[in-house]
């Protein structure tokens, strides 16, 4: 075994693993970024320090969001003042709420119950209290 052999084995193995990491991440990102066509749109408006949700039929909710299990929802997220971030930890959904911009994220709730909605971008004095309740119904 020459002096350089171990280095080549090392480089090849690590490169192969990194190729796998890149391919796997690319595929997963492509899969989860694709919003289903039948997803219902919900407008999410963030402002210091509460959340407003507007359903497709025009009904509005403040601090609470009622969804149906088994349906897909597309969230169009924006902000009225500073930058916030819309996050539902249980459903691994997170996107920035930026004034003058509409960012999109989607998910299909599959479990009935109450879940946390929390701002994840520091937005001022009451950032930590900027929460809402996600209620998923059957």
């Amino acid at each position: 075994m020459g002096h350089a052999t171990i280095e080549w084995v090392y480089i090849a193995a690590v490169t192969a693993i990194l190729v796998y990491v890149g391919a796997d991440s690319w595929v997963a990102e492509k899969l989860i970024d694709e919003i289903p066509e039948e997803a219902e749109t919900i407008k999410v408006i963030a402002q210091q320090w509460f959340w407003t949700f507007e359903h497709a039929d025009g009904t509005k909710e403040v601090g609470e969001l009622h969804l149906k299990a088994g349906k897909a929802y597309r969230f169009e997220v924006t902000s009225k003042d500073v930058i916030h971030a819309f996050n539902i930890p249980f459903y691994t959904a997170m996107i920035d709420a930026v004034p003058g911009r509409i960012n999109k994220v989607w998910f299909a709730p599959d479990q009935v119950g109450e879940f946390l909605i929390q701002c994840r971008e520091y937005c001022g004095l009451l950032h930590s209290q900027m929460r809402a309740k996600l209620i998923v119904e059957a």
Binding site: I6, E7, V9, Y10, A12, A13, V14, T15, A16, I17, L18, V19, Y20, V21, G22, A23, D24, S25, V27, A28, K30, L31, I32, E34, P36, A72, F90, Y91, T92, A93, W106, F107, A108, D110
Partner: protein, 73 residues
């Protein structure tokens, strides 16, 4: 030596092609955490390879080894 690993890197592409059935939604939660655990495993494997190579090189070229002493002389 690279072939099996390169082939393995294409498996997720084939997986995703057959994953979604009509009328079912991708479970983002499962996909994202699954990816996290797979990448964590990959990171540990890379760490093990790096550590293993370091231990091997230190052992193979240790100063105490007679062959090394001959080379030094």
């Amino acid at each position: 030596m690279l072939t099996p690993l390169l082939v393995a890197s294409f498996i997720p592409i084939l997986d995703s092609a057959f994953a979604q059935e009509a009328g079912q939604f991708v479970n983002r939660r499962v996909e994202i955490w699954g990816l996290f655990y797979r990448l964590m495993a990959a990171a540990f494997v890379v760490g093990a390879i790096v550590q293993g190579v370091m231990v091997f090189v230190l052992f193979r070229f240790r100063e105490k080894k007679v062959k090394q002493q001959e080379v030094a002389r």
